[in-house]
Amino acid sequence: MGAFGHYLAAHLDTLKSEFWALFVGGVANGLLYGMIAVGYTLVYGVLRLINFAHSEIFMSGGFAGYFVLRYFVGSGAPPAGMSSVGLIILGVLVGGLVGAIVATVLERVAYRPLRRRNAPKLAYLISAIGASYFLFNLAGKEFGHLAYSTPQPYINHPVFHIFGAPVQMYFVIIFLVGLVMFASLDRIISKTRLGRGIRAVAQDAETASLMGVNIDRTIAITFIVGGTLGGAAGFLFGLNFGVVYTMGFVPALKAFTAAVLGGIGNLRGAMIGGLILGIFESLSLVFVQAAYIDVVAFGILVTVLLVRPTGILGERLGRAA
């Protein structure tokens, strides 16, 4: 057995002993990626464009949640019990609301004027990048360039164990919020009139308008829905990692990877892609140093684009399933 064999054997042992702890962390990260990724995939569905300013929607949600907690918790002791639950729900709602507002403004200012003029796709890309730079630099100017750590609305502790690995309160919160959001979104898109309108526009916008679907309104709604999930994800992310004006860049790029991995335009694909990316990234910590983890994520992006550009679930546009 050569040196590589020893390397592998040693790491496989670590993988075995650390598997569940890494898995739990990966699922939590993956849910956050998925929450951001649905914003990319919904907007891609109706507009065929990647909203590269989505990272700033996430950042706005993070800051909104931070200010909520700074106001209610401040430097005092972390609350417990029902007030913790209430603060987390409030943070998710405010983060989601601010995300939705920023998304709406983006659509109005950066995209709708281009749509009116039938601008080429490249113009949308430039507009998105411009809007993104504007927004994060605005945040940098207003809030400074240093990271804030978020006042904790709860005491983090292991809630239960799964195969011996502790599951922290933070992860439980992400699981609950993520699952509720995914379940409601999935239901809205597949069962409601609103969702049917979004799917119709994604599949054939002109024909959808013949059926009486207001395309402008539908596009605005997809931005609102994507913005809500993205903003809420920003709050959950900021809860643990703090907030800073550049916080959106890397998580959003990874969420974009997740959306491509699952099949851009496919809602369930974005959720599944997020989970797979999160888990894969987390487990790869056994084999590479944490500093290289972004290399793993973007390696996946490049591989997917080369091997299966349509992603895991393919491009089944507008389809909930």
Partner: protein
């Protein structure tokens, strides 16, 4: 019921319709004939708000709809079966039908039953996605979808395109039934013989203009129509 006056439609610098005027009366089937590029589809698209007229006027049931937006026409009572059927490919047959009733409030189950009675094949396929239907099934679905909006005026664009003769006969039979049940029909059709046998009146379009119009039975005997659109040699 429908009155088009001097309507002009431009695509950029190209003028597609040079001021057309025609009308459709309640309870009629009116057909627009003409070669490819004559402006027939553009006319229908204008009547659904997909191309706003640069000038002219469109009156529907006495109401000015010249500036009405595409998504507002279904509610007004004008439904459009577009060229190429344009079924939502990833929706099931039933979801496609329900899209036709998108602007309507209340239950659609009665209308669904009616559509399934008119098009039994769609009932068998109601859980299949649109992309998996044959051309004829897609055309029936496209018509059924438009009827779900309970239109008073139905716009049909090339319903026979690419279909086998037997299916074309079925579709034309259904168009006749639609008229008999009280829905007015404006039909664009390449198959002039079929269209004129079914229609009450017809207009012939050439190069973005209405060249002439008459009762369908007169057009069937019109030498110009027979030579150009019915593919017959003009008898001496």
């Amino acid at each position: 019921m429908l009155d088009v006056k001097d309507a002009v439609v431009r695509y950029g610098t190209i003028t597609a319709l040079h001021g057309i005027s025609f009308n459709v009366q309640q309870g009629e089937i009116v057909t627009l004939l003409g070669a490819n590029g004559a402006g027939k589809s553009t006319t229908l698209r204008m009547l659904s708000g997909l191309h706003a007229p640069a000038s002219g006027q469109i009156l529907f049931e006495g109401k000015d709809v010249t500036k009405t937006k595409a998504h507002e026409f279904a509610e007004l009572g004008i439904c459009h079966v577009p060229e190429g059927r344009r079924i939502f490919p990833q929706m099931t047959v039933q979801e496609n039908l329900e899209m036709g009733a998108f602007t309507r409030k209340g239950s659609t189950s009665e209308d669904l039953d009616k559509m399934y009675a008119t098009f039994p094949i769609l009932k068998d396929r109601r859980k299949q996605i649109g992309a998996n239907l044959s051309g004829g099934e897609q055309q029936m679905l496209a018509i059924g979808r438009a009827l779900m909006g309970r239109p008073r005026l139905l716009l049909l664009d090339e319903p026979s395109m690419g279909l086998a003769p037997m299916i074309v006969a079925t579709i034309f039979g259904i168009i006749g039934e639609i008229r008999d049940s009280g829905t007015t029909v404006l039909l664009v059709e390449q198959n002039a013989a079929h269209a004129l046998h079914l229609a009450d009146r017809g207009y012939v379009m050439e190069n973005g203009r209405i060249a002439f119009g008459d009762l369908a039975k007169n057009l069937l005997n019109d030498e110009r129509v027979r030579a150009v659109y019915l593919g017959e040699s003009v008898e001496g």
